[in-house]
Symmetry: C2
DNA sequence: GTGTCGCTAACTAACGATCGTAAGGCAAGC
DNA sequence: GCTTGCCTTACGATCGTTAGTTAGCGACAC
């Protein structure tokens, strides 16, 4: 595995929250797997490569994880659950008013992608490597998360605060712009995650026809 | 190759322009390769699978293309060249005025992604499978295309017509939202490519603080 | 018209390599 | 003693690609 490959994302640090896995070794395996999946794709990253970087032999990984697919599934499940949790939590904590709700959702969405850029990017590029059976709960989570954002937009449009020529496309735009952050963001960007999400909230509100409104305070 | 996989994009038709390759057989190979790369990833799609679907044996592909990587490179090169060409052409044809320029660029950008959704999506997800050497011209083209959009935004901001809290993030938002179209678009969506790009132009202008301005006429 | 040559595009067979994973074994810790 | 976590060995499978062969077609010469 010494072949130099074309970079498809800016992130180079496979950040995962400490304690995600039940042991240090399992955590290391996930972290290395995430990085190699990001660099080489799921199929392009072999168990021998992952094991070598962890400092063990490939067959030993099976003491910890049942299969290669299981590694990917752990990563993608956590990624989607965390995303969903963050947005739900942000919505629950925000005032029940459409600008505040939208701001909170976008902030959470963008922050997920600045906090876990590599994980977020892999979640989008390597989904195909999951069997339909393994992937369907992940897709269901994704749909649920999207629906939360769509509901916020729908309510805002219904109340007349948001004005859009096409509601679903507004949701697609707001979701998509946040998602792409994962592909270009690195920690040495001139703004931190909070700074970026402030700006993104402003842009999302503009998309919704709320121009020049101050973004929600970030405390 | 009968394993059912999780879908990561909506497009299911590997559209490429007729005459892209120099013979029918070469064209068929590219079309099948595009679809299988999209479904299974570059490494997950084997030459035997591609050959079987074309109706020949894997070794015969080498009469037409030097390597598996060459297949991917042909696809990605065309995708990036076409994208670049369309945006350049649209900018050249539009009036030299920042709203018209931005509108033209966004329209061309979005139309590329509705005309070639599968190719566009694969261009983003499978870049890693190119060696650095093969991929660097592709990345250079990408950077050039981005720079065109960035220049349009910069000029608009400089002239005072566009007002943004962060110029580069506005470029990232506008580019990213168009790019994501490739992942959800299918031809049975309620709007066609023109309809979608009309809306996207409106949203992009809103991001830039030009609210409620009529989008450029699409003749 | 016929035969020959060269080229293209397909084939078969196989190479060297790598793959994910199973089975059996050993050592350390509790 | 049992469990865990590592090892080695190896399996069956697949991979991208090479080398050699064959058939068909078109061009050319006789």
């Amino acid at each position: 595995m010494t072949k130099k490959v074309t970079r498809r994302m800016a992130a180079d640090r496979p950040y995962l929250p400490p304690g995600l896995a039940t042991s240090d070794t399992r955590q290391n395996i996930l972290v290395v797997a995430l990085r190699l999946f990001a660099e080489h794709g799921f199929e392009g990253a072999s168990m021998r490569d992952i094991a070598n970087e962890v400092g063990m032999k490939a067959a030993s990984i099976y003491s910890h994880y049942a299969s290669k697919e299981q590694l990917l599934l752990e990563l993608l499940r956590f990624g989607h659950e965390e995303h969903n949790r963050r947005i739900r939590s942000a919505l629950n904590a925000a005032p029940d008013e459409c600008i505040a709700q939208l701001s909170a959702a976008v902030r959470a969405h963008v922050r997920m992608h600045t906090d876990y850029p590599m994980l977020a990017a892999v979640s989008n590029t390597e989904l195909h490597a999951l069997s339909t059976e393994a992937g369907s709960p992940v897709l269901a989570l994704r749909a649920n998360t999207e629906a939360m954002l769509a509901e916020v937009v729908r309510k805002g449009v219904q109340s007349g605060v948001f004005q859009v020529p096409h509601e679903w496309l507004a949701v697609a735009v707001i979701g998509g712009m946040g998602l792409r952050v994962a592909h270009w963001y690195t920690p040495d960007f001139e703004l931190d995650g909070d700074g970026i999400s402030d700006i993104y909230v402003e842009y999302a509100l503009r998309v919704l026809g709320v121009s020049g409104t101050r973004p929600e305070q970030r405390t």
